[in-house]
Each structure stands twice: as structure tokens, then as C-alpha cells.
Amino acid sequence: MVTEAKTSVKRHIVTLTVNGDEHVALVKANTTLLDLLREEFDYTGTKKGCELGDCGACTVMLDGEPVNSCLILAVEADGHSVTTIEGLDQNGKLDPVQEAFVNHGAIQCGYCSPGMILSGRALLNRNPHPTEREVREAIAGNLCRCTGYVRIVEAILAAADANS
């Protein structure tokens, strides 16, 4: 559905599922999924680090696949299902990847953590027992300036072990 606003930028009504709940919003054609999540829905766990697809801080799962939400238009997400970091823990119980990040010291400033955790979760969903190399490849698009990735890789491998 398309409406015409004062500024003559086209607006669209989008309906998407975020963390299991249906959300409806009126968005401009150029609004990114990242801005929709953060500004309209207040899912600020999805971080903004570059808006160019370089850092991975804005990673969310779109129909289960990790994507940079700064590179996806809100209208493209219409009818799809999004998981943000806020949707991982269930009734206060952390996802095993989150738990492992906490216990392995994989979090320092934490700005990359939501994106990292979601990349890790997406990897384990499609490959429950990855090798270290596969973990590194899965998070290669998520930059972290604090940790040197050492404990992040360790945490994702530990979460995989906890799966079995």
C-alpha cells in the first residue's frame, strides 16, 4: 500500500514480524530496516556502526539468515520475519550463545555483541557443530575492536558444544 506525504516522498505500509510479534509501520521508501527497528520499534539492541554494510553491528536475522539491516530497506522486509537480539532470550533465559558470550568474557564494550551473537546463532542453526574456521568465517563481517575475536570464537564454539 502506498500513500503520498506532504514532502512527496512515497510512504509505504509494511507489516513484519519482529521477534514473533506482528508490527505495522508507515515508512518512507528510503527508510532502512535498521532505522525502522531502532527509531520506530525501539529495538535499539540493533546497533549502528557505519550504515554502509562494513561493520556488522546492525546484524539481524531475516527469515533466519543473518543480514546487515542497514543495507535492507524497510519495504523489502515487508511480510518477512525478523529476529533482533531482544528476541533471543526466552522468558529471561539467555540463548546458549548469549550465555557463552557472558561466561567466556567475549563481551567488552558490547557494541558488536548483538550482531556477533546473532551471526553466531545463525551459524549454529545451520551448522550445529562448526569448526573454528567456520566460526571465523561466519563472523568475518562483524567487526570487533575490543576483543581480538579470541573469546568470541571460543564462546561460539562452547555454545556449539552445549548444543550436543
Binding site: 535499539t44 557505519c50 557472558v102 563481551i107 558490547g110 557494541y111 555483541s113 568465517e137 575492536r145 576483543t147
Partner: protein, 768 residues
């Protein structure tokens, strides 16, 4: 063995790897960073920045921007105080907006506040600025020449600072040396690249300015912002939100706070400014590119007898913290090896490029790369093993450097020995296949700065702990700033240990100039030692009050009463016990709030010569790092396969966090060694101010890392602690360069160690 062994004591809370206090908030997305926060009625601010490296502002027309619906304010230099600010005293040279001239691509020219981000961005494009473009100064090695344009009228020949320090008789020492080498090295402009951009939200209500921001030092922000706007410090409240990394870049207020404050004052509404990635890069304040010439002499046996270090340092447009950086460059050279005769001549110059300041390792990593490289060359000239020459010269405990830094604990020799063992050095050095090599680099760093950045009699840290009326929890109020490194966790452990309760019992209120006691903040690797002292003292004051009352309640002598993890007991009488909460509750009923207070000021440190305070510290850390590389001779590609880091950092409060600091620092060193450099076109425009083209290490780039420790105890630190957060950036560049030399016999003198450079050096070697 150092005095460490005599100090070994059983601790209940420190020395254990508790998860960080805020890890769950961060793992679940609950943690709110400044950019995540919205307040009612908030406007979005944006800054218009100069497209020219050097230009005169002739005219600014804001009328079109003002007319755009949704725009609430447009401001330029004429709307804000013209007070100069900065962070190096006596060198304040920035204004909120450029007044006459812009000095780098990215300089602040005007700003808008609008109802949303998009309107603000659009309004910026409607501001019309007329510039007269001036020739820029881009080459630091030419900046002092007479024919170069001048950036600042107050700094003739573009000299930001000129330093000459002379200890002993270097000329004589070098003249008498058995062997002398002179070599020149250079480093690049690398940047902190915190994943979270700088951000601030300012509110102006009833004459009071409240700023929530991403900061390493609420105190310095408050001090400078109050000064610029002519407000009482008490009318400026600076509060830290969660911070997504700083690494030195968020120590000084950036445009985000000054400009959002000015816009809030003009509109009466809260204003949020979040930098974009381009602004983070051009605001910079990161590493200075240094040109370093070292002349070093040794005896026949390899003992260093003297060193003369000369620097030309590119400071960029403004001073930032660059005076200290320039002093650090030379001051840290004689720290880790013992020699008496040392001279250091340095110039920091201005160029029309982004301003340089403090970045992890502050001023010291590039000179350390130079020294570690040259020391390997000297060892080769003498036919010595690189670790042997380092052992021979390694600093010893309880010694003084020529520039009068007092070193107490020092397990550098032990660190060298351990690095040698765990890396398998003896089996590998000179014995690896022709494409592989192993190299060593070392470093040492301060554990907090001996003097504050501006002159003040304030102690460096304060802390208050208040026990709840029921005695179940204790709240630590500290101005210390957790930017991800984990100070909240470490200080909570220290508080619990000092009181005698559990880690989980400690709650925190931190980094807010109104509610927490003064602390200078997160820089110079100071908080574990300095904030730690204040916290320990506050905790001990509570312990003392509780034990005194408990002794009365137990009818025992106070000397016989002790506490461990909430259990108060009489030594030797196992049945005489009281729970902590009983006594704390009783204390409140009888005497009122149970509070402990602490403060820390370092002792008077350092010599009397000009610049003597820079580099003074109550304690110094030491580190040895061995790296192993594989080099592809066809492409020049270098793969670092393994790094072994051995740190002498005193008593460890939280091993997991400590090793995480080493790993992070090491990878920042690795980025600087292998990839990172800001580059500019012939007009001074940045070419790679984004995360795609300015390359930081990714998860695929990293070697296997072993972080190890040596037993050590620092008498000047609470519980024996000293530095860990920055020191591991220092050895990395040198150890990589030395490993590459070991692999293929080529020496790279300038950073970073790119495939092209390595390949060219290989071709050069083949021609000879």
C-alpha cells in the same frame, strides 16, 4: 623472584574470573548507548563540516536551511562562545565552530537541529558557505619550512611543541661505544575506530546543562564544557551512558557535546548528535605518524651505553592531547632497558590533516617499534641472539630511569624467559624453513599518570561505598569509567574483597559528575591502580566500622575479629560468629548510615626538568611478545600464525578480563602493524574514512594467541596491581617486523607491513 612471593595472600574475591557486571545487559541488547536513547521532545543535531583542508570562510548563508520546515535552529560561530578549548593546557586552540579559517577536511563550520535526522541532513545541504581555498600543509617533514603556509598564528613555523631533553652525556657515550647504529623509522596515522561513534544528548533546563554521552572522562568533559560556556561546574552535569569503546578517542569532548549543548541552549529542547563513521575518522585524535631516527651505541658485549632519539611528529590541525603524546614518544624509550645516557629531540608539527592525540599506548608504540627493530639489528651486527641482548639490558626492579621514573616491581627478565620457553624460541630461531620466521618485541607502560592533565590539587580518584540499611548489599559510587575494559567489575571485586563480602553484593553507581565522587576517568591505564586505591580504602573503612561494632556485640577484642565473605568471626573461637548483615543493620540503627570513603593521589613523582611529569607513574608494567610469521615471497603476503605475550602486570584481579585486555591491545597493535593507515589525496581529503577501506583486523586475520603472565606484586598498587590495558599494543609492531626479518632477511622501516612493501623489499634484496 620479586617480592611477589612474600606478598602472596589468600584472597576471597579478587583473582577470580567473574563475568562482567554488565555482560548480560550487553548480551541481551538491554544496554543503552547514547545513540540508543530518546528523550521526550528531542531534536536531532548535525554538524556541517569543511570540505577543504585549509580555507578562509568568507560568508555563511543559513537562510535557506532556516526556512526548511522542521528545522528548529541553525548556528554558526557567531551564535556560540568563541572561547578556545582543547585538552592540553596552554594550547587551547579549537572553537566550537571555525571562526576565520578551517584547518582540515571535517572542521566544524555550522550546525542544525531539526525534528528528525533526515530533515537535519537536508538542512545541512542548504547552508551556503563561501570559502577562499588556501594551500594546505600536508607533509609533516616540510611543515616547518619557511615557504609553508601557517595554520595557527600562535605557532610560528607550524611548530606545535619542540622538545629537548638530555640526560647524562650521550655524545661521549656514543663516541666511546664499540658499535653505533643510526636508523630511521616511520609510523602512520591509525585511528581508534571504536565501534560506537561519538555521541551526546544535551539538555538545557533552568540554567543547567545535562549531557549524557559516550565519554572516557565525565570530569574533563564537565571541566571544559563549563569553561567554554561560562557556567559553574555544578551547573554542568556529565553522565556516561554505556560506551562502545574509546581507546583514547573519547577522552576529550568532541563536537558532539559542545554543539548539542549549544543547540539545546538555543532551542530549549534536548538535542542528540551522533557522529557518522566519516566524522569519527576525521575527528580522529588517534595515533600521530612519527618519523623517528635513533642513534644507539653498545659495548662489545651488547650492553646499551646511550641513545639519541630524534622525532618529527605529525600532529594534524589542532593540539588535542598531542603535547603529552610528543613527550611520551621520547620519554618511554629508556623505560625497559637500562642505560644512563639518553637524549631526545622532538618536534610536533601542524598539518591540515585530522588532529592526532592519545590512542592506546599513547605516543609510545611507534618509538617502541623503532627501538625494538634497531635492537635486533644491533644484535645481528654483534652476532647475538635477540633475547640475549634484551636480557642483558633488561630493567631491574627498584631502579630509576635516566629521566627519573621510579620503577618498583619489574619482572621483565622473567617475562623474557617465559616468552622464550613458551614460544619454543630456542628450537625455532634460525631453524625454521625459509618462509617462516620468529621475532621478539617488548614494551612497558605506565599504570596511571602521575599528574592530571590540567593543574589541580584534586586527588586523582575518590570513592564512596554505602551499605544498605538491611546490610544485604553495598553500593559503590565511583567516578571511574567503564568503557568496555571492565573497570566496574574489577572495582566491584576490589570493594567486596576490602569489605569482606561477596562480589554479587556490590551494586554500582558510576561516572556521573553529580552523583559519584571525582575521578579523572579511563586513560593512561590508571583506574585499576588509582580508582582501585580509593575503592580499597573506602571498603576498608567499612570493614573497620563493622568489625568494631561486631567486637562489641561478640564481646571480643577488635584485633581478634575478622570477616570473610560476610561471616564475621572471632579468631580461634569458631562458635563466635555473626553475619555481616546483622552487624550492618545494627550499625545503621545505632549510628546511622554505614559509609566508607576513599581517595587516592599519587605521591610526588619525577624530576624537575621541562616535561618531567609526562611518563611518571606510581608503577610500570613490562611485556615480552614473540611472534611467528609465514611470508609468501611471491606476493609479499605476511601471515602471522602465532603470538605469545607474557605480561608483568602485578596482582591479577580478574584473570578472564585481564587476558581479554591483552588480546584486544595486541590486535590493535596488529592492525597498526599490518593494515591500518589513514590516507589522503593531494588536497588533504581523506580517501578511506570508512570501515571498508580503512581495514581493521577481522576474525579471519588473527593469529593464534597465547597470553601468559609472570608472578609479580607491585607495592605501589592496591593489592599489588599494575597496568594491563595498553601495554600489549607496544611490542607487536616490533615483534612482527623482527619475525619478518628472521623469515626472509628483509627489514621494513615503515609501518604498516603491507604485502607491497614486503614484496618491494624482497625485490631490493634480490638485486643486491
Amino acid at each position: 623472584m620479586s617480592e611477589a612471593t612474600t606478598q602472596n595472600k589468600e584472597y576471597s574475591v579478587i583473582g577470580r574470573s567473574f563475568p562482567k557486571v554488565d555482560a548480560r545487559d550487553k548480551a541481551t541488547g538491554r544496554a543503552r548507548y547514547t545513540g540508543d536513547i530518546k528523550v521526550p521532545n528531542m531534536l536531532y543535531g548535525k554538524i556541517l563540516r569543511s570540505p577543504h583542508a585549509h580555507a578562509r570562510i568568507l560568508k555563511i548563508d543559513t537562510s535557506m536551511a532556516e526556512a526548511l520546515p522542521g528545522v528548529k535552529a541553525v548556528i554558526t560561530a557567531k551564535d556560540v562562545p568563541s572561547t578556545m578549548y582543547g585538552i592540553s593546557p596552554a594550547r587551547y586552540d579549537e572553537t566550537i565552530f571555525a571562526i576565520e579559517k578551517v584547518l582540515y577536511v571535517g572542521d566544524k563550520v555550522a550546525a542544525v537541529a531539526a525534528v528528525d535526522d533526515e530533515t537535519a541532513t537536508k538542512a545541512l545541504s542548504l547552508i551556503d558557505v563561501e570559502y577562499e581555498v588556501l594551500p594546505p600543509v600536508l607533509d609533516p617533514l616540510r611543515a616547518m619550512d619557511d615557504d609553508q603556509p601557517q595554520l595557527h598564528p600562535q605557532y610560528p613555523r607550524n611548530i606545535s611543541v619542540e622538545i629537548h631533553q638530555n640526560f647524562g652525556d650521550v655524545d661521549k657515550a656514543l663516541a666511546e661505544a664499540y658499535h653505533v647504529r643510526t636508523d630511521t623509522f616511520s609510523g602512520t596515522r591509525t585511528s581508534h575506530v571504536p565501534m560506537e561513534p561519538h555521541a551526546a544528548i544535551s539538555k538545557w533546563e533552568d540554567g543547567k546543562l545535562t549531557i549524557s554521552c559516550s565519554t572516557q572522562s565525565p570530569h574533563y568533559f564537565q571541566y571544559h564544557i563549563a569553561r567554554v560556556f561560562g557556567l559553574k561546574m555544578g551547573d554542568v552535569r556529565v553522565m556516561k551512558t554505556f560506551v562502545g569503546g574509546g581507546f583514547g578517542g573519547k577522552l576529550e569532548a568532541s563536537g558532539a557535546e559542545y554543539v548539542s549543548a549549544a543547540l539545546a541552549m538555543k532551542t530549549g529542547r534536548p538535542v542528540k548528535i551522533v557522529f557518522d563513521r566519516w566524522e569519527v575518522f576525521t575527528h580522529h585524535r588517534g595515533r600521530h605518524p612519527q618519523h623517528i631516527t635513533l642513534t644507539t651505541g653498545v659495548t662489545k658485549e651488547g650492553k646499551i651505553v646511550g641513545c639519541h632519539a630524534r622525532f618529527i611528529i605529525d600532529g594534524g590541525a589542532y593540539t588535542s592531547l598531542g603535547i603529552a603524546s610528543a613527550y611520551y614518544a621520547g620519554a618511554m624509550i629508556p623505560l625497559i632497558y637500562m642505560f644512563d645516557d639518553y637524549r631526545f629531540d622532538g618536534f610536533r608539527v601542524h598539518t591540515n590533516l585530522p588532529s592526532c592525540g592519545a590512542q592506546r599506548g599513547h605516543g609510545a608504540p611507534q618509538p617502541r617499534f623503532a627501538f625494538e627493530s634497531q635492537l635486533d639489528m644491533i644484535a645481528k651486527d654483534l652476532g647475538m641472539d635477540p633475547i640475549e641482548i634484551r636480557r642483558l639490558n633488561a630493567r631491574k626492579p627498584n631502579t630509576m630511569t635516566p629521566n627519573e621514573f621510579q620503577v618498583n616491581s619489574c619482572a621483565f627478565t622473567e617475562a623474557l624467559d617465559k616468552a622464550r620457553n613458551i614460544s619454543g624460541w630456542d628450537e625455532k630461531k634460525g631453524k625454521l624453513s625459509s618462509d617462516k620466521g620468529i621475532g621478539i618485541g617488548c614494551g612497558g607502560f605506565i599504570s596511571g599518570n602521575g599528574y592530571a592533565i590540567y593543574r589541580t590539587r584534586l586527588p586523582h580518584s575518590g570513592a564512596v561505598i554505602k551499605v544498605s540499611e538491611q546490610g544485604d548489599i553495598a553500593t559503590l559510587y565511583t567516578g571511574a569509567v567503564d568503557i568496555g575494559q571492565g573497570s566496574d567489575t574489577v572495582l566491584a571485586q576490589m570493594a567486596a574483597e576490602a569489605i569482606g563480602i561477596n562480589y554479587e553484593d556490590i551494586k554500582l553507581v558510576t561516572a556521573d559528575t553529580e552523583t559519584t565522587p571525582h575521578d579523572f576517568g579511563a586513560y593512561a591505564s590508571r583506574q585499576t591502580l588509582m580508582s582501585g586505591w580509593a575503592v580499597k580504602q573506602a571498603g576498608e573503612e567499612i570493614r573497620k566500622q563493622v568489625l568494631e561494632l561486631a567486637a562489641e556485640m561478640l564481646e571480643a577484642n577488635v584485633e581478634d575479629v575478622d570477616i570473610d565473605r560476610r561471616v564475621i568471626y572471632v579468631k580461634g573461637s569458631p562458635d563466635k560468629v555473626l553475619p555481616f548483615e546483622r552487624v550492618a543493620n545494627e550499625f545503621f540503627i545505632m549510628r546511622g548510615p554505614l559509609v566508607g570513603r576513599g581517595k587516592y593521589a599519587p605521591p610526588k613523582l619525577g624530576g624537575k626538568f621541562k616535561g618531567a611529569p609526562v611518563g611518571t607513574s606510581p608503577a610500570y608494567s613490562f611485556a615480552a611478545q614473540v611472534s611467528q610469521v609465514e611470508v609468501d615471497e611471491e606476493t609479499g603476503q605476511v601471515m602471522v600464525t602465532d603470538v605469545w605475550d607474557v605480561h608483568d602486570c602485578g596482582q591479577v584481579i580478574n584473570p578472564m578480563l585481564l587476558h581479554a585486555q591483552v588480546e584486544g591491545a595486541l590486535f590493535m597493535g596488529m592492525g597498526e602493524a599490518m593494515y591500518e593507515a589513514m590516507v589522503f589525496d593531494a588536497n588533504g581529503k581523506p580517501l578511506n574514512a570508512n570501515l571498508g577501506e580503512y581495514r581493521i583486523p577481522t576474525a579471519l586475520d588473527v593469529p593464534h594467541v597465547v597470553s601468559d603472565l609472570v608472578d609479580s606484586y607491585e607495592p605501589a598498587g592496591p593489592f599489588g596491581v599494575k597496568e594491563v590495558g595498553e601495554g600489549a599494543t607496544l611490542p607487536t609492531m616490533g615483534s612482527y617486523a623482527n619475525a619478518i626479518y628472521d623469515a626472509i632477511g628483509v627489514r621494513i622501516y615503515d609501518m604498516p607491513l603491507t604485502p607491497e612493501k614486503v614484496w618491494r623489499a624482497i625485490q631490493e634484496r634480490k638485486r643486491m
